[in-house]
């Protein structure tokens, strides 16, 4: 009987232990020996996991005594995970972080400013491309460092054969030319589309309206993030352009219904031959080379609006970076890891990580397309387009503001409001939201 009792208790303890163990999945180098173990969260999944493991291993080699508990987490729940960890007083030492989420965390001081560390280690902000660095600064302090690029989000990949069939000789530079080209490229029977020339509502990066407004020479919010600036001539021109483009695609319902079939990632619309021009980011290069070797395509910049200029096209919007949360257990060593992930050009660090994926770098001295000593044949074209990017400011209430902007565009495209009414209503709505935020958090 005693034996049975012991057995039952043993089973009970084992079950409890397993339950507690199942909550933690870690990837720690068993060969690393050190007094300090950093907890590091990132969202580089798929074929980037071994690349990040190599970067972390190189960091451990270069920093004896510091080990890294390298944890991959899905990116879509990142804020829930991070907020929960911070609230529980057990945040990671270093985490990958969206620049678009910075204002709230900086205002509530949930992040450690990096300026002192940068000064002590001689890391100057000058090593970064200015447009990439500005999104990491808030209230005059640097809260995170960037990697990869937050630009090159609005590259216009276009099908050269479609252009030739339609008799279009070069990629449109202005909105008027873009409308003409889209009309010539779109195919269908008048009710149902067979091919879209271009979908102005499907822009990567920032919400489509903000991207087009940026290409029309206008920021959507003031530099101090306190005043919404969409209800003006540039805003009206932007909505009218999106409206005209949607009409070419037989209206918003058919455009959206068609786009459902267009797919994404490795099933990009341009690969499926469903669209002639597709806006996407520099990461699409990998998909196109892997899944569409035969596709005859080129890359161009976002056309500019009547209020814009040829020098301001795509929107640098957010992007990723790395930061140290407040209450991190080992902030000094955490800074060393942040620096390795973002400023290391020579070793297996931040630059090498991008080169393996062939995507642009926010570090001026790092050619992200240079892999094994050879640059990518399209690197020059993509970097040339990215050089025309301008920073689109991000507000501390951005996710909710994005929903409001999306509704405004729908109000116009579905014909429920005039352009003027939609702009006035939405500007007032977002302004009220923003005022509420500053009232509570100033």
């Amino acid at each position: 009987m005693f034996g049975r009792r012991k057995l039952l208790l043993t089973i009970f303890i084992i079950v409890l232990s397993l339950v507690s163990l199942s909550a933690t999945v870690t990837a720690q180098n068993p060969d690393c020996e050190g007094d300090v173990t950093l907890t590091y969260w990132h969202h580089w999944g798929g074929n980037r996991i071994p690349l990040m493991e190599a970067v972390v291993a190189a960091f451990e080699d270069a920093h004896p005594g510091v080990c890294v508990n390298n944890l991959f987490l899905p990116w879509d729940n990142r804020l829930q995970n991070l907020l929960t960890a911070i609230a529980a007083g057990n945040p990671p030492d270093v985490t990958m972080f969206g620049r678009q989420d910075l204002p709230f965390f900086a205002v509530t001081e949930q992040i450690i400013p990096l300026d002192d560390y940068m000064a002590a280690d001689g890391v100057s902000s000058d090593i970064f491309i200015p447009a990439e660095f500005v999104g990491n600064v808030y209230n005059g302090q640097t809260w995170m460092l960037p990697n990869p690029s937050g630009g090159a989000l609005n590259l216009m990949f276009y099908n050269v054969d479609h252009f030739a069939e339609a008799g279009i000789e070069s990629f449109p530079e202005t909105w008027d030319e873009m409308l003409e080209a889209a009309e010539a490229l779109t195919q269908g029977d008048g009710d149902f589309l067979d091919r879209i020339g271009f979908n102005a509502n499907a822009m990567s990066g920032a919400p489509a309206f903000i991207t087009w407004l940026n290409a029309n020479g206008q920021d959507w919010i003031s530099e101090d993030l306190r005043t919404v600036t969409i209800n003006n001539e540039a805003g009206a021109q932007t909505l009218e352009f999106m409206q005209a483009m949607t009409e070419i695609n037989y209206g918003i319902e058919e455009q959206n219904a068609f786009w459902e079939s267009a797919g994404e990632f490795d099933q990009m619309a341009i690969i499926l031959d469903l669209v002639s021009i597709q806006s996407t980011g520099s990461w699409a290069l990998f998909q196109l080379e892997s899944h569409a070797e035969e596709l005859n395509y080129e890359v161009a910049a976002v056309p500019y609006g009547p209020n814009g200029s040829p020098d301001r096209r795509g929107a640098t919007w957010g992007g990723w970076g790395f930061m140290v949360p407040k209450n991190a257990a080992h902030p000094d060593e955490a800074w060393q890891l942040v620096s390795w992930l973002t400023t290391e050009v020579e070793g297996v660090g931040g630059c090498w990580f991008l080169q393996q994926q062939q995507r642009p770098s926010p570090i001026a001295a790092c050619d992200g397309y240079l892999k094994d000593g050879v640059s990518h044949p399209r690197a020059e074209a993509i970097l040339g387009v990215a050089a025309l990017d301008a920073v689109a400011p991000i507000s501390p209430v951005q996710p909710e503001a994005n929903q409001m902007i999306g509704r405004m565009v729908d109000d116009v495209l579905f014909g429920d409001k005039t352009v003027e009414q939609a702009l006035a209503d939405t500007e007032a709505e977002i302004q009220a939201l923003l005022d509420g935020f500053w009232e509570e958090y100033s």
Partner: protein, 319 residues
Amino acid sequence: MATAFGSQLRALRGTRRERWRDLSPMRKREARFGLLFITPWIIGVLLFNLFPFVASFALSFTRYNVVEAPIWVGLRNYNNILTDDPLFWKSLGNTSVYVFGSVAIRIILGFALALLLNARVRLLGLWRTLFYVPSVVPIVALSIVWLYVLNARAGLLNWFLTLFGLPRVRWFADPDYAMLAFLIMSTTWVGVTMVIFLAGLQGIPEEYYDAAKIDGAGWGQRLRRVTIPLMTPTIYLNVLINIIAAFQVFTQIFIMTGGGPRDATRTYVLHLFDHAFQFLPPEMGYSSALAWILFMIIFAFTAVIVATSRRWVFYQGQE
């Protein structure tokens, strides 16, 4: 009344004490082990159900962004929801359409299928399994399948419509049809309702039907006079279960439309989720208030159904 209740309680307590005293050492040991083994479950319920339940009520009177201490705001969240949040009313309206539509579909279709399968059909087990299997498929996988079925250009349903000369429908792009698409999708879970109905049908004694036949009742009369009245307890159960579940519809809408187009499929829980987990700063206090309003609505519906059940639910042997 109170005295009678108190004496019953005292009697019950006394009985329990006597029973525990009367237990043999071996049974006592078993009981202790039983309690030990359900301890994780009890701890789970206390920590992950009861505590959040109470905490969310307290948080509903605060402004809480998760990373800072909650700030007491009294009834402000409730006031803002009811007077200054157009999406609250929009999402509540959408959810109501889904609740009434999907519950009606699942009750009527589930009952009809159960009647069919209750007849002496061949391969009964196979049919039951076929109708039930979709209910156990993960909802994410189901959502992906339905996205293909309801695809405007190449979807199975539109292909079927065109066979009859009907026009293609832009299910998820047209605000007039988007919620209808989710009502069609709700037939996926009809298997659960059907199985419960089937169990109820098999509990009706054959003698009632024999007596009705002798009295000259046809199939329709037997259905109206015998089957449906005796099935009211099962209908009652199914209505309650389905209403409570339908009010909380979320996953498929989050995956398939995100509440669009034009907020035509923005349901209540999706609205709540946005404020809690999508927006910055997180609005946990506001979301808690939304959750408590939903709780009160579901509670009210349930109370009305329970209160009126005496008028329309009949049990065998009841006068």
